[in-house]
């Protein structure tokens, strides 16, 4: 893979590998816990075994592409064991689950090493040997006679067991079909959305494609036959699959049992705790892309309104009476705000639901690490945008895992230190001003040893802000510092990156021996943002108002150390300016972005980076407005300091700057 003429280096994907591997590890751990719980209930979970197998298989494939051999070896060994279990009907015994948890832990450890740019230790021979000598589990035990023959031949052993288990537990099993078409796709209905909708209300056993007569709008006539076990009503299943209830068939005619009577009841309105009567049809599942669409349309409206306002401004300057136009625009503005709020409401999910996976994570981590941890979730009724939630979860997983894996002492150590045996990890979430959320992940573990990190980083660390900066610098490695004693976490650069990508920020406080607390401040929604627009050099830029502490005048008297001029006439980026009696660093944004106009800057934006203010000079402020921000997802155009793009109403893309990131760049350059 490393021939000299190699044009593409797959090593570039290391960061993405870490992110995906961690998701897969979480899936594997969740499956293992599910399997373990089932063992306790004297039953099995064939589907969880399949999911475990797939997670391991994908980790193995990815690790082999990136060239992390020890992970390939462990994943391969465990995959072989789990595949055998899957082929035998999908059950694992307790001993196998135990060893699998250990092996997944060993993989996780090595993924972390990759994230920290440490050397990945070899796969432990003892572990590999133990996996190899572990028997998969007992052979399928549930009689499969109840499965109709036309399905029996189309299912794998594990799928047959899954189905037999459902039938035995008297969970209703249904068959239905979905026919993809251009018309369905245009309405946002695809096999993927149908699968997701059904997956949310039941367990899909199998989906099989079948040829049917092609309609005019497809190249190929295909129907998907779906087999699903679900307690949901026929109506709810039909709705999830975007089909008619008459097209959802029970797999076998069920013998009437008391449970069947209950089924009839569920067609009645169900009284919920919140007091609202929810009828099956009152809840509609909407795909996120459809809401995105709606929001895109709204963004165009908002942009055109801004343009209209400017045109009216021009008329007014020419001496025309624009009072009535103003009135209309004002009302339109209010309507747009209401519309925006309505769309936002539709995108909201409860933070409590978002935090749900953390419970499983902590259980499994504590288990494999030998710690005793109590997870406290406190989000009350706070809600946030689904799009933010999806991006935020990996960061929270990182922080919680760091806390459990690195910060928390073993139970005996804790007792010796006079702490409660069970450690506490707390995730709380509150809404703060300006449509932001503050999510705090705190632990009562050992805290971070600033001196140890300072030695490692070879630079003085005076406060928590500086400490966080060192911890989140991508190249920072603790190869020489035993992680267990430093209590420092992993992949912190990724956490900071996630926060800044969302237009938020990460801060931290830590006390040696007492614990660490990370605060993620993120917007409730990322689609629409309140920004300051300004001119710098020939270009307009915007920054979220939430990161700007204050806009100050730049006049000669306030500059403590004047904007330095290099010998070649360009301004040095780092100087000091007086603000409320204090000297704070001031950076010429133009110089930093290499588009300096040479004009004297008149205004400066002051931001707080982890508590420390820093000012950026700009040529001219344009205004404050609401814009829709598009994040730049393409890794090829991912430039540090650029958070996304937006449209100010002139149809041209305007860059949204990440001043936090630019502040760090400025400091780095200033230090050179």
């Amino acid at each position: 893979m490393n021939e000299p003429n190699e044009p593409i280096d797959l090593q570039e994907f290391l960061g993405a590998f870490v992110v995906e591997a961690e998701e897969l590890i979480a899936t594997a751990n969740a499956s293992l816990l599910e399997i373990e719980t089932a063992i306790g209930d004297a039953t099995s979970r064939p589907r969880a075994v399949r999911e475990l197998f797939r997670a391991l298989h994908t980790i193995k494939g990815l690790a082999s592409m990136i060239g992390v051999e020890p992970i390939v070896e462990i994943a391969h060994a465990l995959e072989t064991l789990v595949r055998a279990a899957d082929r035998a009907g999908g059950s694992l015994h307790r001993g196998a689950v135990e060893i699998a948890l250990q092996a997944v832990g060993a993989i996780a450890e090595r993924v972390r090493a990759v994230a920290e740019h440490r050397e990945v230790t070899k796969a432990p021979e003892a572990l590999l040997a133990e996996i190899a000598s572990t028997e998969a589990g007992s052979v399928a035990s549930i009689p499969e006679a109840a499965i109709p023959p036309e399905w029996r031949t189309r299912l794998s052993p594990s799928e047959r067991q899954q189905l037999a288990l459902a039938l035995e537990a008297r969970v209703p099993v249904w068959t239905l079909s979905f026919v993809p078409s251009e018309a369905n796709a245009a309405r946002g209905i695809t096999i993927t959305t149908v699968r997701a909708g059904l997956g949310a209300i039941g367990e899909i056993v199998k989906v099989i494609p079948r040829s049917v007569a092609a309609t005019a709008d497809v190249k190929l006539g295909v129907a998907f036959d779906i087999l699903i076990a679900s307690d949901a009503t026929q109506l709810a299943i039909a709705e999830a699959a975007s089909t008619d209830p008459e097209r959802v068939f029970p797999l076998v005619q069920r013998v009437p049992t008391p449970a069947a009577e209950l089924d009839l009841d569920s067609f009645e309105p169900v009284e919920r705790d919140d007091g609202g009567a929810i009828l099956g049809r009152a809840v509609v599942r909407v795909e996120l892309p459809r809401l995105d669409d709606l929001q895109d349309q709204l963004s165009l409206l908002i942009a055109s309104r801004f343009r209209l306002e400017r045109e009216i401004g021009c008329f007014s300057e020419l001496g025309h009476n624009v009072q009535r136009l103003h009135e209309i625009v004002r009302i339109q503005g209010r309507l747009l705000r209401d519309l925006r709020r309505a769309i936002l409401r539709a995108r909201m999910v409860k933070v409590t639901e978002v935090l749900e996976p953390l419970t499983i994570l902590v259980r499994s981590l504590a288990r494999s690490g030998g710690t005793v941890v109590q997870l406290e979730l406190d989000a009350c009724e706070v809600e946030l945008d689904k799009a933010v939630a999806d991006r935020l979860l990996p960061a929270l997983i990182h922080l919680v895992r760091n806390a459990v894996d690195h910060a928390i002492e073993l139970p005996d150590q804790r007792v010796a230190l006079g702490k409660p045996r069970a450690a506490k990890v707390r995730v709380s979430c509150i809404e703060v001003a300006g449509n932001y959320l503050e999510i705090v992940v705190s632990d009562d573990g050992r805290g971070i040893d600033r001196a140890a990190i300072a030695r490692r980083a070879n630079c003085p660390i005076d406060d928590d802000a500086r400490l966080l900066e060192v911890l989140t610098s991508p190249g920072f490695s603790t190869r020489d510092v035993p992680t267990k004693t430093s209590g420092r976490g992993i992949g912190m650069d990724i956490v900071r990156r996630i926060a800044s990508d969302l237009g938020g920020e990460l801060s931290m406080t830590t006390q040696l021996g007492a614990g660490t607390s990370f605060t993620l401040r993120v917007p409730v929604t990322i689609a629409v943002m309140d920004v300051f627009s300004f001119q710098c050099g020939p270009q307009a830029f915007v920054v979220p108002t939430a990161v700007v502490d204050e806009v100050i005048e730049v006049d000669a008297e306030r500059i403590v150390v004047p904007l330095n001029l290099h010998a070649d006439g360009t301004a040095s980026p780092l100087s000091l300016i007086e603000r409320r009696g204090h000297a704070i660093p001031v950076v010429s944004l133009g110089a930093l972005l290499a588009i300096d106009s040479g004009k004297r800057a008149r205004k400066a934006l002051v931001i707080r980076r982890n508590g420390d203010p820093i000012a950026f000079t700009v040529d001219r402020m344009i205004g404050r407005q609401e814009v829709v921000v598009r994040t730049i997802d393409d890794a090829l155009v991912n430039v540090p300091g650029i958070a996304g793009t937006t449209d100010l109403g002139d149809g041209r893309p305007t860059l949204v700057l990440d001043l936090n990131e630019l502040g760090i760049m400025a400091r780095e350059r200033g230090m050179e």
Binding site: M1, E3, E6, P7, I8, L10, F13, A16, F17, E20, R50, E51, F53, R54, H57, T58, K60, G61, L62, S64, M65, G67, P180, S181, E182, A185, T190, I191, T192, R195, I204, K206, V207, I208, P209, S211, V218, K219, L220, G221, V222, F224
Partner: protein, 126 residues
């Protein structure tokens, strides 16, 4: 314009394959995360090449290949299977099912590029 369907349940794997195949020139990549999605894409649009992963939820690469070969319209569609299952049995079953070519993970970028070029050429010749 060459239309390539990349099917893999790993987002990263899809991205890597696309980066490897970018030198093909004017390529329109369509991604599918499951075998089901792949068949749906094939039903809705025409493709010149399918790069297919083997292990996916509900419907794996082998079943996708089998289904594709039952379709008259898709008989000549080149299918490049990418997998970390290198055993002879899997390979034989895949070839029997109608896979055009087979690539074992880990592969070098040039390997997949070369195989894709070859498959596209033979398709053009047919």
């Amino acid at each position: 314009m060459t239309h390539v369907l990349i099917v893999d349940d790993s987002k990263l794997m899809r991205a890597m394959v696309a980066v490897c195949l970018r030198p093909l020139g004017e390529v329109d990549f369509v991604f599918a995360g499951t075998g089901l999605e792949a068949i749906e894409q094939l039903a809705l649009a025409g493709f010149d090449l399918v790069v297919l992963d083997l292990d996916m939820p509900e419907l794996g690469g082998l079943e996708v290949t089998e289904f594709v070969r039952t379709q008259d319209r898709l008989r000549g569609l080149p299918i490049l299977i990418v997998t970390s299952r290198g055993d002879a049995e899997s390979r034989a079953r895949l070839m029997a099912a109608g896979a055009s070519s087979f690539l074992e993970k880990p592969f070098a970028p040039q390997q997949i590029l070369q195989q894709a070029r070859q498959l596209l050429r033979s398709e053009a010749a047919a």
